[in-house]
Symmetry: C2
Subunit: 131 residues, 2 copies
Amino acid sequence: MAAERKSEKRDAILALLRRVRCHPSAEWVYNELRRTYPGLSLGTVYRNLRRLTESGLIRSVGVVDGQERFDGNLSAHGHFVCQGCGAVLDVELSEDGLDALAGGGSHGRVTGVEVRLTGLCRDCLDKDIRA
Amino acid sequence: MAAERKSEKRDAILALLRRVRCHPSAEWVYNELRRTYPGLSLGTVYRNLRRLTESGLIRSVGVVDGQERFDGNLSAHGHFVCQGCGAVLDVELSEDGLDALAGGGSHGRVTGVEVRLTGLCRDCLDKDIRA
DNA sequence: TTCTTAAATAGGAATCATTCCTGTTAGGGG
DNA sequence: CCCCTAACAGGAATGATTCCTATTTAAGAA
């Protein structure tokens, strides 16, 4: 069988995504893991992020400032994306609301839900006021 | 004053986005409008889509298969994105669903909401069964 | 253990959506 | 009619992501 072979790099990427609070891009993961694996290739990071996403072990948060961002937290929650600094923060969603969102299944089989709020985070609001 | 000057191309792009049901990419808009404006430049389409989005006359639906998609329908609704064919379909959001999103304001000022369901549309489900 | 096969990887080239740059055109106030 | 500058076309540049190839390596079989 075409089994999935054990891979130290892939395990490290998954562990990193599960550990951190932020929502990393491929490049961020690359720079972070290069400290442990100096020979790490950027292509390896992209390939494994893709595989992990396809296998459902992590999920994509979508593209922010041109870069795809990932999340190792699979629990039901949304994201607040700051248009000023690109920060991505978790947003709790109520049970009822999530059930209501899931109702979109009339178009086919729904396999994922992503709720994105965009705006300015507190820090960037403060900067605006000063400017 | 640095006023915004009248622009036939920008008006045409806005009118097109308001008229169509689909959720076009820049290239789709370009190909469509070139029939009316043979000398239209792709850069002009990108520039105006960006301006229209920034001024809130249209909104971005996010990136699908590497291309950003836009929507001239500003009413509150979500989107179903088919991972098979890339189709984007409107999804009605219930009151409860919308209420669920209200909690995100604690991180700052929320200016936009996007709800994206991903999965396989009916057509692509049928194809899978045949294969 | 040794052999074998294909997955995993590094490194770099290729792709492609999007943005940027430059010279030109044209809207509209004075 | 003049001037300033937004809007534009055309094409070059950018940059995230994917693809390609030679090499390494996991892990089942002999």
